[in-house]
Symmetry: C2
Subunit: 376 residues, 2 copies
């Protein structure tokens, strides 16, 4: 393998795949990045057994990339990334010598790294499926940022550590719950000629993938779903994750159909009021605050024997003259509110011990649900 490549292009590709480099070092080869140079195309692959990331660079012009000899090798990922990042030169030369040694050089710098034979790399199948689901990049990033936070971190309930993607016809419903709150995003897909799917993608992995996606980019993402894994394809990038096996709980019956009171308010104001009301609460008791209405006044309270107590007030709109008194986790409610990018929000109350529904007329694709906490 021998090539000359523009630094910025190589660095961008290394940055992307290096997210999948295994840091646990149990299997040395997984701490590496596989370089495959074939027919003017350099393919980089990294995998930690949980996710696999692959990207490629093609020689659009000699100016960007010049191949002198094809070949494959596994390079130690962490060091390769650091070297390319710190080299000041515009172009970098890479050459395999003595079979398993890699020479990386520019005018004044020479690095010789020990490599590993590409034959030792695990066989990873990144084949596309026959049918695919297509989602716009912007919509996909929204799905992740508006639902993933509600997943569980507890490995005791593996199924709840993922986001449920439920596709029926051209409707994609995404659910994420840790059993104390639920985040739901429903989007319409452009094409309806796909199969129906009901899968659970590990939240941690989908967040990692979402971070690689460019902001303000209108490209599409292809989802290739098979039995136990999902392959995302985005521009030159392939990102594969395992799926979580098991049946995701049916969350539809959790979402109340009726309510006795709806309050409407500015999101940011409500967020700030809850934030202040929770200053004296502690994480370990889930930052419990109590919300009360008195006419068009919303009152938020919390108290702690040792520290003290807070009372915050704000004006709200109501759909009727009913009043409510209900307690919930400030942290969960604030995360639910943060998922909206709208100006106003509606809080639907069904009863003092019934889930609280958070919605917005300006964006009906999101539904957030927070369970109340009994304080007596």
């Amino acid at each position: 393998m021998k090539l000359t490549i523009k630094k910025d292009i190589l660095l961008d590709a290394l940055n992307k795949v290096s997210k999948a480099i295994s840091t646990k070092n149990l299997i040395p080869v997984l701490a590496g990045i596989k370089f495959d140079l074939k027919k003017n195309k350099l393919t980089l692959t990294a995998s930690d057994n949980d996710i696999t990331i692959q990207t490629f660079i093609t020689a659009a012009s000699d100016d960007e990339f010049k191949v002198e000899k094809e070949g494959s090798i596994i390079v130690q990922g962490k060091y390769m990334l650091d070297i390319v990042r710190k080299l000041p030169d515009k172009y970098i030369n890479i050459e395999v010598f003595d079979e398993l040694k890699i020479l990386i050089y520019t005018e004044n710098s020479e690095f010789r790294l020990n490599g590993i034979s590409e034959e030792e790399y695990p066989k990873i199948n990144l084949d596309e499926s026959k049918k695919k689901v297509v989602i716009n990049n912007k919509v996909f990033k929204e799905i992740v940022s508006q639902t993933a936070f509600a997943s569980s971190n507890e490995e005791t309930k593996p199924i709840l550590t993922g986001i449920n993607f439920n596709i029926v016809g051209n409707i994609l419903e995404c659910n994420s719950t840790d059993s104390y709150r639920l985040a739901r995003k429903v989007v319409e897909l452009d094409k309806a000629d796909t199969e129906n799917y009901n899968i659970v993608i590990p939240s941690h992995n989908i967040i990692e993938f979402s971070r690689i996606l460019d902001d303000d980019d209108k490209s599409n993402i292809e989802l290739h779903i098979s039995n136990n894994k999902i392959l995302f394809i985005y521009k030159q990038l392939k990102f594969q994750s395992r799926l979580i096996s098991g049946t995701y709980p049916n969350t539809s019956n959790l979402i109340p159909k009726e309510d006795f009171l709806v309050i409407t308010t500015n999101i940011q104001d409500l967020y700030n009021v809850i934030d202040r009301a929770s200053i004296l609460t502690s994480d370990k008791d889930k930052n419990i605050v109590t919300l009360e209405t008195e006419g068009n006044l919303l009152i938020l309270k919390s108290s702690s024997q040792e520290i003290g107590r807070v009372e915050e007030k704000m004006n709200i709109e109501k759909n009727n003259s009913e009043n409510i008194k209900i307690s919930f986790s400030a942290k969960y409610m604030m995360e639910a509110l943060k998922s909206f990018s709208t100006e106003k929000v509606e809080i639907h109350f069904v009863g003092e011990i019934k889930p609280i529904l958070v919605k917005s007329k300006e964006d009906e694709t999101i539904t957030q649900l927070v369970l109340p906490i009994r304080t007596y």
Copy 2:
């Protein structure tokens, strides 16, 4: 105690003193900030037994600060800071009620915090000494940033965890060493009518104080030195630290008087070359790199059996035709180089097993010394 105060002014004062709030919580009263309101002056004090920070706010105008009733109380520091930071209002009202409760309120927010009687606060003497040393803020910040990094973190040698301030006449010499390297800054003081001092200030504390100082401010700092403590006074702020007892090692004989080779180079270029040469080294063996000269070529090398090896080259100026081969810690040399804000730097070599001296003709107040490491 009862007052109304402009939020920004109170927040600034709280931010400053809260650096001294004890987070260990062994003595509850030290997790508090003492409020003293007397004759139109609000004094805030916090202390963790190691450092004490005090600042005051005076009522320059009713617009900033309005006193209704004098008094004193200890408020839980962390919560007070959080409350004031998150309140959106321009003015904040603070009132002590039921003797030991504090009411903090604005139009829509009401916090009631449990307080502690000011009588329980430790007696802390922040008296000024008769004679004082005066240092310009900018110079003081330089002293700290150019020397503190070289102090030891190991509590087994307490004296080396501090910076030595040695004042003789109008010359202040600051030394900091962990016994592998030495950072020295020598400055001329404006007034020479002070006494001579030879003290050791804990690096951690002086760094903390330096962070509170405003950037680009030309005010002076007063140093009031007594037997076992130092009091810094900067504008409305008093910052007191204990001193480390014991005799600081005489570092003057460490600094070589002669050299057989001096190389001159651009600092940033040399920094980058050493940075790259150390990519394949590890922290645990002090990131050892080897420097060699070959005529006007500087060659930096490092290697690791498992990972690989690097060779970096750059052009330098030399004062004669001698050559050197010497190994040292890349981390220590990079930290030494970073302390200069000049364009060029001189590296003085005395011998292969003698300290390496780093100086700059453009700023002769700094001397950095890095010990070589034997690699055979």
